[in-house]
């Protein structure tokens, strides 16, 4: 007897996502993923000055402000074949990397750890035993008895008030929660420590970007940060030294806490290395450009077809044709006017056509992107696999180290193939974060060295020729491949399309009726209790969904309407 479960909305994500599953014999047999908000912001850009697009696109989303600004200026620079001064690349890279480190830490600890960690169970822990466990796993200075006792006391006080506050709506005591009280306490301590450390990453973005949450220093052609080592009002050596201090603190946390915690969760939930694989076509773009043209990158990218590692094909530059010609979007199952088949983003259209939720028809506001006609998974897992296969040494080092820790804790050999899973996506995010925090230090040094050589240039002025130019800006954002596609005509925007990471992953069925990555990943997911579908949330959360591309309005007309409907 199959049951239909509707979860609407999925909580602890950005934006409004609905998931429908058919469950038979305790497992998901069919899945539909539906974005419940229309994102037509591209329309606002038509007819505007391409130099203003970045400031507008960074308002698309509350979390990913910086990434849209970066993708937008890169798109216009690509259309104009405009080079970007080295200092500007380094400053952008620092912001990109600090944002990524921030985002990954927040995602693991504050948005998804509560799927695996039972905060209420932590109250039953012996703090001294939790400390002993923590100290056996890592040399992190805040794993000791004093800290664990303090966290235990603080948590007890908080829960005693009867208001779980930020911890309400958790699946506490769910049979799929497997960690011991001590592991739960240790993880809760790290949840609190992560709240502190993520602030440092945010400060880096704020200082370089002049302001958060919306950075102000980006420009088509470079950045607007004047470099002057003597002036107080600009990016001074003093400020740069403060940034270095925060980078070091972040590196300590990422390597000695985040990577270790992910390995421990992976080992204690080893079953989850066999769940949630889904779409095995992986797409990642190269990022952290090291030259003014965007032909050399610190992080490689490429495409893997069908999980076959031998099929890896690199994407090499901002002008890469293999990348540019491969992307198309279908609206056959999306609430947009279609009938023209999958369209390349330069020809993309965004005309709404709402129907009800139709299982075999249109059922989502998300379009369905494909790479050479195939759905593709994007995000940290795609990034790490592509970097690994491109022979990127830091990625190989952290991946090997993590898999060895998991193998030792789980007492069984866990290899790279275990990464095709729900837990693998978490592991990949931590591995990516470690690579990125090291790069943060390297890009900081590169900026200092370049300024030391006397190069203070940060901006190349763009000029817009008559006629039409087309450009794509891509960025390997925290959630994966982000691309902005712009068509400019006589210096004005004629068409603009954003293909965002969650569009790739949360895609509905495409023109050939093939399911999107979330949908495929849910197939076979065990569901112990259809009323409390924690397991479905685990797999969906592992992708770090971000659909916050529209409203956030406050509403005192309605009470909380989060529903899990079982039919």
């Amino acid at each position: 007897m199959s049951k239909r479960i509707t979860i609407d909305p999925i909580t602890r994500i950005e934006g409004h996502l609905r998931v429908d599953c058919e469950v038979d014999g305790g497992k998901v047999t069919k899945a539909w993923v539906s974005g419940q908000m229309w994102r037509g912001v591209e329309q606002i850009l038509l007819g505007r000055d391409p130099r203003d697009a970045w400031a507008i696109t960074q308002r698309i989303c509350g979390v990913c402000t910086t990434v849209h600004a970066i993708a937008s200026v890169r798109a216009v620079e690509n259309a104009l074949q405009l080079e970007v001064p080295l200092n500007a690349q380094y400053i952008r890279n620092l912001m990109i990397l600090a944002h990524a480190v921030h985002d990954h830490i927040v995602h693991f600890y504050h948005l998804s750890a509560l799927d695996w960690v039972d905060v209420v169970s932590a109250l039953k822990a012996d703090p001294d035993k939790a400390a002993a466990l923590g100290e056996s796993l890592s040399s992190w200075h805040l794993n000791g008895k004093h800290e664990m006792r303090a966290v235990h006391e603080r948590l007890s006080g908080y829960v005693k008030t009867g208001q779980l506050g930020i911890f309400t709506n958790g699946y506490w005591g769910h049979p799929a929660m497997k960690l011991s009280p001590e592991v739960n306490l240790l993880a809760t301590a790290h949840y609190l420590q992560a709240l502190e450390v993520q602030r440092k990453a945010n400060k880096i973005v704020a200082i370089l970007g002049s302001k958060t949450p919306h950075i102000q220093n980006v420009a088509v052609g470079g950045v607007a940060n004047p470099l002057d080592t003597n002036s107080q009002s600009v990016l001074t050596i003093e400020r740069l030294l403060a940034i270095k201090g925060w980078i070091d603190e972040l590196a300590d946390f990422v390597k000695n806490v985040y990577l270790v915690d992910v390995a421990a969760v992976g080992a204690f939930y080893a079953d989850w290395t066999k769940v949630g694989a889904g779409c095995l076509n992986y797409l990642a773009v190269p990022d952290i450009p090291l030259d003014s043209k965007g032909t050399q990158f610190a992080m490689p990218g490429g495409y893997i077809a069908g999980g076959n590692f031998a099929s890896f094909k690199p994407i090499k530059s901002f002008g890469d044709q293999y990348w540019r010609d491969g992307v198309a979007e279908s609206v056959k199952h999306s609430w947009y006017r279609g009938g023209k088949g999958a369209l390349h983003p330069y020809q993309g259209e965004t005309q709404p056509e709402y129907t009800d939720f139709k299982d075999d028809g249109k059922y989502s506001w998300v379009k369905s992107p494909t790479f050479y006609g195939k759905p593709a998974q994007v995000g940290p897992l795609a990034r790490v696999l592509c970097m690994y296969l491109a022979g990127h040494e830091p990625t190989k080092k952290y991946a090997t180290q993590t898999l060895e820790t998991v193998s030792a804790l789980a007492k069984t050999k866990v290899g790279l193939e275990a990464m095709h899973s729900t837990i693998g996506r978490h592991a990949a995010r931590a591995i990516s974060c470690a690579v990125q925090v090291d790069l943060l230090a390297q890009q900081w040094q590169a900026l200092i060295d370049n300024i030391g050589k006397g190069d203070l240039k940060t901006f190349n002025k763009p000029t817009f020729p008559k006629g039409e130019q087309m450009g794509v800006g891509f960025h390997e954002a925290p959630r994966g491949v982000l691309s902005h596609w712009v068509v400019i005509d006589d210096g004005k925007i004629k068409n603009y399309q954003c293909v965002v990471p969650t569009t790739w992953n949360a895609a509905p069925r495409n023109d050939k009726d093939e399911a999107g990555p979330y949908e495929v990943s849910l197939l076979g997911t065990p569901v112990a209790n259809a009323e409390l579908p924690l397991e479905i949330l685990r797999t969906v959360h592992s992708f770090d969904p971000c659909l916050a591309c529209a409203v956030h309005i406050a509403d005192i007309e309605t009470r909380n309407t989060h529903t899990v409907k079982v039919v």
Binding site: R59, L195, N202
Partner: protein, 166 residues
Amino acid sequence: MTPAKTIVLGIGNILLSDEGVGVRAIEALHEHFEIPADVEVIDGGTSAMELLDDLSHAKLLIVVDALKAGRPPGSIVRLSGDEVPVFFRSKLSPHQIGLSDVLATLELLGEAPRETIIVGIQPATLTLGMEISNEVKAMLPEVIRLVVADLRHHGFEPQPRKALAV
């Protein structure tokens, strides 16, 4: 520890007309008043966790936001004291990790604002566009007056730059 701050926070999405009224209101506040240096005025957009540091240890937090209260467009609602937690508990937000979670997190850290005031405006439209509706625009002077009155009540003296006109 940083000294206790006073913050005026405008939030909302300026790409969706009246949804962005909170941000438009603080822009108008800047335009019409010289704000004392010890008051921070923040354009929060639709951000969440990025605001954690900015909002920590606040003495007073005034939030200006679009608010669906089932009233005629342009209606203004001011909430303070016990009404604030009720507002956040019942807040239906497609942004699951919105401002309410930032404040709940600050609560957990023991860094929550000592006092929070919400000034909400009922939107007329949430259609795509960067301009707010005339009904809501007409109420901006009143919103600013309320914010300025609250600041004065707390001992700050915003100086008018130019007359408030509808």
